[in-house]
Symmetry: C2
Subunit: 480 residues, 2 copies
Amino acid sequence: MATQAVTPQSVDFSKWYNEIVYKADLAAQSPVRGCIIIKPYGYELWEAIKAGLDRRFKATGHRNAYFPLFIPESYLRREAEHVEGFSPELAVVTHAGGKQLEEPLVVRPTSETIIGETFSEWIQSYRDLPLLINQWANVVRWELRTRPFLRTTEFLWQEGHTAHASEADAEEETLRMLDIYADFAVTEAAIPVIQGRKSNIERFAGALRTYTIEAMMGDRKALQSGTSHNLGQNFAKAFNIMYLDENNERQYCWTTSWGVSTRMVGAVVMAHGDDKGLRLPPVIAPIQVVIVPIFRNDDERGEVLAAARRIGAELEGAGVRVHLDDRDGLTPGFKYNDWEMRGVPVRLEVGPRDLQNNTAALARRDLPGKESKQFVSQDGLAAAVRDLLNAVQANLLQQATAFRDAHIHDVKTYDELRQVVEAGDWARGWWAGSDDDERRVKEETGATLRCFPFDQPDGPGACLFTGQAAREVALFAKAY
Amino acid sequence: MATQAVTPQSVDFSKWYNEIVYKADLAAQSPVRGCIIIKPYGYELWEAIKAGLDRRFKATGHRNAYFPLFIPESYLRREAEHVEGFSPELAVVTHAGGKQLEEPLVVRPTSETIIGETFSEWIQSYRDLPLLINQWANVVRWELRTRPFLRTTEFLWQEGHTAHASEADAEEETLRMLDIYADFAVTEAAIPVIQGRKSNIERFAGALRTYTIEAMMGDRKALQSGTSHNLGQNFAKAFNIMYLDENNERQYCWTTSWGVSTRMVGAVVMAHGDDKGLRLPPVIAPIQVVIVPIFRNDDERGEVLAAARRIGAELEGAGVRVHLDDRDGLTPGFKYNDWEMRGVPVRLEVGPRDLQNNTAALARRDLPGKESKQFVSQDGLAAAVRDLLNAVQANLLQQATAFRDAHIHDVKTYDELRQVVEAGDWARGWWAGSDDDERRVKEETGATLRCFPFDQPDGPGACLFTGQAAREVALFAKAY
């Protein structure tokens, strides 16, 4: 077997990320430029993320649908900002069925346009509102620099698209979905995201306002992990999405869109991983418990494997996702390292002595060394495992939160911001700068304005850049 | 409200199909040629189909993964039959990111080629076999004539791809997956499919053998509803998929692929629908029970709606998918017709008299007129509903089976075959004809050889076309 050691995070976080994504079998490189192959272990993680989000969408009245992959090129042009934002990234089908197409078809980079056109047909009256639709789909954006999960030419995502009768309803929906994203991130992915509003510069192309959940990765860089857009009446006007109100007057709708993508897999990897590899939150881990049988000879092997299978079946019956590593020819030590690298939250070891004592050893992935291990009785094992999984889930969130809070610093001046950013941390300070000021900060420091967080101190304060009165603090950080 | 009447099946089945697909809100027309929009009700049906299949795939050791949408054009050319089969249907991306691509990218029509290339990297030794992968994805085939769900330019499907150490293992897998398709079709979609082997002419481009499940639609035409291919070593040789065997010798793998698509939605519509509209099998119906409240004034309205909500919650708690139709301004009669058109298996009516008597009326969609209705006590309602849903499920399968069996006729001569096919039925007869003979039957009768069914009479017999000794009977029918 090839050694599975990865470059430590402390040596080179970026290299660590690229190595662990492939070594832990989350993804494989593909022969197509900028695309990855999502391997079963990575796809199972994505399926868990999908399930967690989909359940929340349905519970809030959204229904899934599916719209065409191809969008007539002319549609993109109808919303001026939108086409400007996406044009450089489009993949275009010019030939099909052996002929040149009369109008080229764009492979969807996002579906506001074709869904806008459709909504204009589906919506007649105020009774049709709100219209709450979600789509699970692949999209394509021709990116120059790609990284597995974080930025790929093709990626998987969900895109919600809704239409409302009033600006207030659209804003409420936009914020509701951001809140759902945050709730998923915190309770299932154990990532303590910060909710906030994007600046003008970072707004979605065609949106009135864009909201975001921002997460701190293990290298302290920010990752935008989900966005929710209040599109105002921009797309309604471009695509004629109108309704008859209760007074029988035609009105433009107010629309929203919101999305989370396979980037979330990268967020989980970078928020929780350590030098040994992945550390997956139990709620979304494809394997929650790996059973490693320990034996020295064939006699022991038979007995131990039988016990391991019995324990596995018992845990499975209790709803735990279990895997028994019964591979031959590998030492237990090799298996420990292998599963630690793959981030399985709990390892269960069972050997001949455990059979005598009716015990098993449980090792949790989130704590180091001896601290991580405990011996438990085989009676009531499912309950003990369940408790331990809950403890791991809580601890991963707690660790990530403490890490995040230790690396966000309040700054009063641009000099302080520079120092914080140069040290790799996040800076929070009062901000009333212009778009140009914001661009200058980016050029000079490499940090972008991640968001105006919802959680604001009492104000106003003095803008760190202009000194003028500012109503809000902003977060600045280097980002993916 | 617009009237929802559809053209009766007996008048024009094809028109009935096109109307019901749109009127029942399964799909909407899209602005993109040959593509449909799958609306929420249709997508929920697809989600149920997905869930039923995915559960079976996972239970037999398959794991989901995701491969790129785009395939380098050169890959398609590596397997000669494959490129010949798919070339006329390809959509090609020639420009991306504002530039012409050096090598055009094909939008996948199916993924044997790119997955073959990947398998050649993933598989090293016999220990890596079998490799059992499935992908849920969209694919594109530029079809000249399209029909919603049955044949669309873009469609959703799953494609399984597996690699094995021996021909026998590959054959076993190919048949196992066909059996899984048949099991799903029969037990969940209530469609009594016939399993069989395709003729040379109807084989998948690049396969050794193609197996199929064939279903009889309400107009007696055949619908190929799923296929499973033994690819032999064709793709292994084209893509160099090799493994080291236990003697350390390099061997080509044996591969399979198998797929079911959104066409299955069309199969459900056409296998069970009647003049009033859809009749959905309870196991996969998005809504299993619709509750229609009956009242004449506001006083009754309040009481009845409260009872309807309580009953709805009780059924939901028992795991039934319920919808309460509390729309204002529509008569109960209108609602009955509307939900019958949408194929909801059971309707529950509750009115003021039911409140007094502690009763409710249950009407099943699969039986006509008075026969369909019964009054039951509100005590133990969930169990009564559950029994009724099971009865509807069983009856739909029984009806479809009886219909199918009444319309398959044994034929001894080509003349008999012609007569049966001309009357719109299926002909079953001994067949030892050549590929050219088979083509002549198609040209002269419009019927294709659907399959050599697994269920065979004792033979041999005399070929209906050539008179020579034939080892197998074949099924001939007009098909979608």
